[in-house]
Symmetry: C2
Subunit: 471 residues, 2 copies
């Protein structure tokens, strides 16, 4: 009799596979309030590593972290017309505080453009104060009607950058810089996801932006996931909050602004990009645990050896965990680490000790073979880099093989519905065609230029729309 | 004519000095919703360093980070009777979400015992799952009637640890371990504050705890600040949420629990412990910037030299910032760094270069003298450790010189009102005496045992109450 699979196979039901994996790998639970989530230690460990890697890049881009309040006066939200229209349906509103009804209800931040601009308008006085480059790590709330853990949750964790610049060009260039040097670099080189960089159509733009840059990842089922966005806000919020500076030649000028965000949604993207029917596969550069050393049996020599291996790998710069919980059956622990997607398992039992070897199981390419104990510390860093490259390669192959060029809207819908991305000239599609796609739950993920770069305008000649179903 | 002081002198008006410092050193602003605060980049940099240092200690204590929802069903709060009584007056309540009135209002977390226990009751099944050691970095909301930046704010940032154990002893020992090895170690050895460890009286205990351990710091005006607490929760929440485990001998048992927290309030404690009339003084082990290298003049050789010094100090492991903003007057920048409390300023002008020296100004002991450029990198680590020790020594001296032994309640009130701490035998004070102190806004900060250790019970013979006014 065949063993029942640990997870619903991807091919049978991808959304159920996703939910199974999140439960079984102990990544997250649903919270008691609809749409909220509890991020369990292993899931939070993934997010912490994302934060570390992103935070270093954000700081290298010159931005400083700060913290703005969770509560925003309702009146602030209404100052920028498109912004309030975009967010009003998703707001959570506090009407009572300290046992009394509040005079003015306060909104739980869905994003912080408005409250941050209220500060920027005080902090920015002179051209000397520019550029002002701020980032915030925070929770935000957007009431979700169709919640799905990590992908769409009423509360999520994110970073949001907010900047003010003296000129249009400086703001535009900074949004593009973040897009490439922070987001693309992190997603490609750490997450191992071959994201597509592009420009959102007016229909898909952030509420209040004049231009939104996006990074789209292709998931295991061929759908798209927006993994991060970087916005040019023009002077929309500057006008709404009167954020001005005294220029070098003595004139009051409105600032030009950007904002950019990425969230715990990336954890969902990680799962759906790299997961397989046995569980998650975590890219080594991200992995909180790159290698686990398992004691197969409760044996003194074995326990001493796994600890020694752990110390040696740790000294070699590997993030390692020793699993000596021999009161739990070995097979169950091995399946658990497989589910959690730890790249390398090193299994040590009494027979291995006799041979001076350990069994080395690799989660990413798969496979298992004995390795001399003395060779482990020298070998692992190389294997981990191989694994990292393989995940990116698989992600790239998937996107290439499942993206097709099409000529008509019908073909685009067909390709997207079959689980792929379709490329269609934007001149042939247009906003009208985009509306027709929407009837089939297909959206323009982004526009890309003929040469694959990010277009400088919506209607640049040769712009291609990449369309897909999306999470 | 004497120069107007940058800050209101401490001796004139300590609370106003505090507020002046926070404004002028650009640590924080008030938020638009009453009681909320905006933590500006320099203030947030202090908090980030606190997080780093604390997080490393928390992880070393075996706890793992996780994240629980901001929103808690109102019904959860009411499950533990003392807990809801303690927090009900401070709650912020969300009544509307997604454009509709909610069927059950949700509470913005004032602390997470209840929502975390709802998860613990699912996660804990067997003795193998214990101890369960969880920590969370999060924002919490307690509606504040008398807000003061960093000290009492409607929203604040904190870490809250929550643990479940198989036995009373294990829970008790873990709360005590966190109290000493995480909180005391951090506060004494990084913050440089000579905190007093003790036990709260029943009146001052956390709502729902059976024992609360506290760390009390003496501020510059002789008042006390509670800098962190570690609670034994007994089985109160375990009963309320039915958190049980199957013991080794096959019985269902309720778990024993702890919780422990420290917050952005520590930033307020830092300011009030070490600040003086010229601004903040940041202990070097905490300081995001330990040394700043200032170019006095816009001169090519000077600018090259400050960058070179910056690189050399950085290579020597010093957290260094180069200040080459020569379009801002040098004097203003020097005052600004003094306000911000950066331990060491290295000032370089053309004349210094001729002499092969730089002017080295020390914020903590005070004083300024020329130092040979080649000696800087070798000298700084030693000076910084001297500064660190000096701040702790000054904190210790203050607490010793301003603590007195008294015999009566009247004397205790007098000592506290004069700006000091008074020690009085708990047997002579008692809960009745404690109530009388409260009429004079004087509280028992904690009980300590005769030998200065933390007492194992409220009524242990020889217990001394330390009483003071407090923030």
């Amino acid at each position: 009799m065949a063993k029942a699979p640990v997870l619903t196979p991807q091919a049978d039901d991808f959304p159920r596979w996703y939910q199974d994996l999140i439960n079984k790998a102990e990544l997250a639970d649903n919270g008691p309030v609809r749409g909220t989530m509890i991020i369990r230690p292993y899931g939070y460990g993934l997010w912490e590593r994302m934060q570390q890697e992103m935070d270093a890049r954000i700081k290298a881009a010159g931005a400083q972290n700060a913290y703005f309040p969770l509560f925003i006066p309702q009146s602030y939200l209404t100052k920028e017309a498109e912004h309030v229209e975009g967010f009003a349906p998703e707001l959570a509103v506090v009407t009572h505080g300290g046992g009394k009804e509040l005079e003015e209800p306060v909104v739980v931040r869905p994003t912080s453009e408005t409250i941050i601009n209220a500060s920027f308008s005080k902090w920015v006085q002179s051209y000397r104060d520019l550029p002002l480059l701020i980032n915030q790590w925070a929770n935000v709330v957007r009431w979700e009607m169709r919640p799905r853990v990590f992908l769409r949750t009423t509360e999520f964790l994110w970073q949001e950058g907010h900047t003010a610049h003296a000129t249009y060009e400086d703001a535009r260039d900074y949004a593009a810089y973040i897009h490439k040097e922070v987001y693309e670099d992190f997603m490609v080189n750490v997450l191992g996801i071959d994201v597509l960089l592009g420009r959102k159509t007016p229909r898909e733009r952030f509420a209040g932006a004049v231009n939104t840059l996006t990074l789209e990842g292709m998931m295991g089922d061929g759908k798209a996931l927006q993994m991060g966005t970087s916005h040019e806000l023009g002077q929309n919020f500057a006008k709404a909050f009167n954020t001005q500076y005294l220029s070098k030649d003595g004139r009051q000028e409105l600032v030009w602004q950007t904002s950019w965000g990425s969230s715990t949604r990336m954890v969902g993207g990680l799962i759906m990009s790299h997961g397989d029917d046995s569980g998650l596969r975590v890219p080594p550069r991200l992995a909180p645990v790159q290698a686990v050393v398992l004691a197969i049996k409760d044996d003194e020599a074995v326990l001493a050896k796994v600890r020694e291996i752990g110390d040696r790998l740790s000294a070699a710069g590997v993030r390692v965990q020793v699993d000596d919980r021999t009161d739990t059956p070995f097979g169950r622990r091995a399946v658990d680490w497989e589910l959690k997607g730890v790249p390398v398992r090193i299994e040590v039992g009494p027979r291995d000790l006799e041979n001076g070897t350990a069994m080395l199981a690799r989660r990413i390419p798969g496979g298992k073979e004995p390795v001399a104990l003395d060779a482990l510390a020298g070998l692992l860093p190389t294997l981990l880099e191989e694994d990292q490259a393989l995940l990116l390669e698989q992600s790239r192959e998937r996107r290439e093989s499942r993206t097709s060029d099409v000529a008509t809207i019908e073909q685009a819908v067909e390709a997207a519905t079959a689980g792929g991305w379709a490329r269609i000239p934007w001149a042939d599609l247009g906003e009208e065609g985009e509306a027709r796609l929407a009837e089939h739950s297909v959206t323009v993920r982004c526009l890309v230029a003929e040469d694959g770069s990010v277009p400088g305008s919506d209607d640049a000649p040769g712009n291609v729309a990449v369309v897909a179903r999306a999470y």
